[in-house]
């Protein structure tokens, strides 16, 4: 049952990726402006454009270009960049690493923090902490990431304190890992962006669990509240929490584009922007497919975990 589900979801995922790649490829080619013209700029005379297009292989029929690219993908070759004339993977790989790093760091901060906040709120509902925190979380829930980013920059790097760089400057040839300080503000921004949803969700599911018959019975049996909380309630609230966490990761993937832009963080989002500006079709393809893949994967993982941890769905 589980495996059939996984296989079906995977097949659907692959089909989705295929559809997306078709859409991107033909959309980027049918619509005005192309890489050759973006490169040539003012010297985009008809002869110069024709020459560069044949150099770049852009004069072949679209279907041939697409099939050649697809053939490459099957061999894990993402094609060549029109702009750098080098493998797309060389451009995308370091950016992907940086975005994954941002994602990992954000999860490491946002998930535990939200979990703790949600749990503390659920244990003593209606008390001062719960009420204050609930108000704060509801109040900040709708605030866009870029506004959070601006406020954090003003607080921590320019107006009040001068602790952190307001843009993520990584010297050429170095990685983000060697400059971990550039991660702080983007991670904080994303954490504040997801905490309202995650924290309240964990609170709600834990409260459901605490109110369930099962826990009430355990408490009546004389188990200490702590044991009840840890052993029974938390386990039962784990399912929605994990689901939420996976969806949150998928969300961060999208939200990271804006945050990367604001902080000029050298990730996939900013790479996508410059690729779009230069109409570098295969780089756009690669990045959008990576995003979609991540999205599908996170959703699927959430699904599978839910099934695994819900006994009645497992059979």
């Amino acid at each position: 049952m589980l495996w059939r589900h996984v296989i079906r979801r995977s097949a659907l995922g692959v089909f989705t990726l295929f559809l997306i790649s078709l859409i991107i490829f033909f959309a980027t080619n049918v619509l005005p402006g192309d890489a050759a013209r973006a490169i040539l700029g003012r010297s985009a005379t008809p002869e110069a454009v024709a020459m560069l297009k044949s150099q770049l292989g852009m004069d072949r029929p679209l279907s041939v270009q697409y099939l050649a690219w697809m053939g490459g993908i099957l061999h894990l070759d993402m094609g060549m960049s029109f702009i750098s004339r080098g493998p797309v993977w060389d451009i995308v790989a370091p950016r992907l690493m940086n975005t994954l790093l941002l994602l990992a760091a954000t999860s490491l901060v946002a998930l535990p923090v939200s979990f703790v906040i949600g749990t503390v709120m659920a244990i003593k509902p209606g008390r001062l902490f719960d009420n204050a925190m609930n108000g704060f979380l509801i109040g900040t829930a709708g605030i866009p990431e870029f506004v959070i980013a601006i406020i954090l920059v003003l607080l921590l790097s320019t107006q009040v304190f001068h602790l952190l760089p307001s843009t993520a400057l990584v010297p050429p040839g170095q990685s983000v890992l060697e400059n971990p300080q550039v991660l702080v503000l983007p991670v904080l921004t994303l954490t504040f962006a997801v905490m309202p949803y995650l924290g309240r969700l964990i609170r709600a599911s834990l409260m459901d669990a605490l109110a369930s018959e099962y826990v009430v019975t355990a408490r009546l049996k004389g188990l200490s509240p702590r044991v009840v909380l840890l052993r029974h309630a938390m386990r039962n609230s784990l399912v929605p929490s994990i689901q939420a966490a996976a969806l949150t990761l998928a969300y961060i993937l999208g939200g990271a584009v804006v945050v990367e832009f604001i902080f000029q963080y050298p990730g996939l989002g900013s790479a996508l922007q410059s690729a779009v500006a230069q109409r570098d079709v295969f780089v756009i393809q690669a990045i959008v497919l990576i995003f979609a893949f991540g999205y599908i994967a996170f959703n699927m993982v959430a699904d599978i975990l839910t099934i695994l941890m819900t006994p009645r769905l497992r059979s």
């Binding site: 402006g33 973006a38 003012r42 005379t45 110069a48 843009t167 400057l169 050429p172």
Partner: protein, 508 residues
């Protein structure tokens, strides 16, 4: 009297400068006091792309790593524009007419010039390079025009026979994109003759130039220069403030205030002859009516453009190019005259005409014009496009557009691409018979004084009937760390920082 006018407008500009970038004044004093020491690594931040791929110095690529190399750092041309705007020899020892037709030219090549790969520069390399410059799709082929024959007289002498006369041939060789490459040049292993050679290139992240010790001229002081491209101005500013880069090149005028009053930084602010023309296509209605073109030229508030768009860091222009050409006509100045513009429009029966002005990147100048044009009953809507869309199939056909940049340079260097016979970038299709006749006559005239007279007449015609609106000449602006020494006081080219690199260093 003419001098007086220029002087006045110059002073106006100077006052603006002093008021709004006090640091600029301090900077020039600091520059004078410091002497650069040998050695060190200088990092330059710039907005755009660099280190993209194979290096072709003759073709535009949007790669600033090629641009910096072409400014006589890695690659050099036969001749060079001086900081003041005249022509001086570089890789050529002399460029002289072979007869009095202005079609035969003898280039004597400087001896003892070594390429970065150790080979000596010879006639074959020059012929190879000139042929390469003439290939389709290059930037500067139009300067030289068609060539009948390339003849190697000896190892250090080349004799060229041109199809059409070019009395200003030494100027034609001076474009930075007419650089001289070794025969059989390989874009994947770029070598030139300049004071720097290509070092490490990190894809889209940095381009390093290392000092070339066997340079034929005065060797550079710095060990290396690193060019770092930024996509975003605020990130670049941060990099300067945090010490990651030493210079920000071509900084937007609105950002200069950021380091105002900070003694750790100084501003390089030099007048130049570069400009962003607004172009009007003259072979179709409505711009085929010269009265419309003149009316727009009369109505645009140049001072407003200078103040708002460039924060005062520019100089008023009067629709003429070649500001630092020795033959530039300083007497032709245009004062704003709304009444005259209005009467021209009414006379032409064009009141109420609606126009669409397409701009590349920044549209502020166009907005000023659109606003001004309302006063004479012309409705201009402004549309802004990015690079890939602006330079699309319509690029050569547009009726009314602007925002792409023209470098500072001698008159004939620009006119041979923009409005001369067979010009490659003449989107304005301005085929004025009188102008073209005089242009050919000037290109026939080897006598400098006689050519100057014709050039003056050419400018009169451009001033009265041309297809370009040139509101201002833009200053070159750069922010530097205070310890960067050896900056020139003035460079007309607009690439002053790049051209100064061999003489730059850190204060000892």
């Amino acid at each position: 009297m003419t001098f007086e006018i220029r002087r006045r407008s110059f002073l106006k500009g100077a006052v603006g400068l002093a008021a709004f970038s006090a640091v600029g004044g301090l900077a020039s004093q600091a520059t004078a006091a410091q002497t650069p020491a040998k050695g060190g690594k200088l990092t330059i931040g710039t907005q755009g792309q660099a280190g993209l791929g194979p290096i072709d110095p003759h073709r535009p690529s949007g790669d600033l790593g090629i641009n910096i190399a072409n400014q006589f750092n890695v690659f050099e041309a036969l001749t060079k524009q001086s900081n003041e705007g005249g022509i001086e020899m570089c890789l050529a020892e002399s460029v002289t007419p072979g007869d009095d037709t202005a079609t035969v030219w003898v280039i004597k090549i400087k001896k003892g010039v070594s390429f970065h790969n150790g080979n000596e520069l010879k006639a074959d390399d020059v012929i190879f390079s000139l042929k390469r410059i003439r290939e389709p799709g290059t930037m500067t082929g139009g300067h030289i025009g068609p060539v009948k024959s390339y003849e190697k007289v000896d190892n250090h002498t080349v004799r060229l026979v041109l199809e059409a006369p070019r009395s200003w041939f030494p100027i034609a060789l001076s474009d930075p994109y007419s650089s001289i490459l070794p025969a059989g040049y390989d874009p994947k292993a770029p070598v030139g003759t300049g004071p720097f050679k290509y070092g490490a290139v990190v894809q889209s992240q940095s381009v390093t130039l290392d000092r070339f010790d066997k340079y034929h001229g005065t060797p550079a002081l710095l060990d290396s220069v690193v060019l770092r491209p930024f996509e975003d101005a605020s990130a670049m500013l941060n990099a300067l403030q945090s010490g990651q880069i030493d210079i920000i090149n071509d900084v937007d005028a609105s950002l200069i205030g950021e380091v105002e009053g900070d003694t750790k930084f100084k501003v390089y602010n030099s007048p130049t002859g570069k400009f962003y023309p607004i172009q009007m296509r003259t072979d179709v209605a409505p711009f085929n009516d010269v009265r419309l073109r003149q009316a727009l030229r009369l109505v645009i508030d140049r001072q407003a453009v200078l103040n708002s768009v460039y924060n005062g860091n520019a100089a008023l222009a009067s629709d003429l190019y070649g500001r630092y050409d020795p033959d530039f006509d300083k007497a032709l100045t245009r004062e704003r005259d709304v009444a005259k513009a209005k009467s021209l429009i009414e006379e032409a029966g064009l009141t109420g005409t609606a126009l669409e002005l397409v701009m590349y990147n920044d549209m502020a100048t166009a907005l000023v014009l659109a606003d001004n044009a309302k006063e004479i009953g012309i409705n201009i809507t402004v549309k802004q496009l990015d690079g890939a869309s602006f330079f699309n199939e319509e690029y050569m056909e547009r009726h009314f557009f602007g925002g792409d940049y023209w470098p500072s340079g001698p008159i004939f260097l620009i006119s041979s691409l923009a409005d001369g016979p067979n010009a490659g970038l003449d989107q304005i299709r301005w085929r004025d018979a009188e102008y073209l006749d005089l242009w050919k006559k000037a290109s026939n005239t080897l006598d400098a004084a006689a050519r100057r007279d014709i050039t003056m007449k050419l400018q009169d015609i451009l001033f009265e009937r041309g297809g370009w609106i040139i509101p201002v000449y833009i200053n070159e602006l750069a922010l530097c760390k205070a310890e960067v020494a050896g900056l020139p006081a003035f460079d007309q080219s607009g690439a002053g920082i790049y051209r100064a690199l061999p003489g730059l260093g850190f204060a000892s």
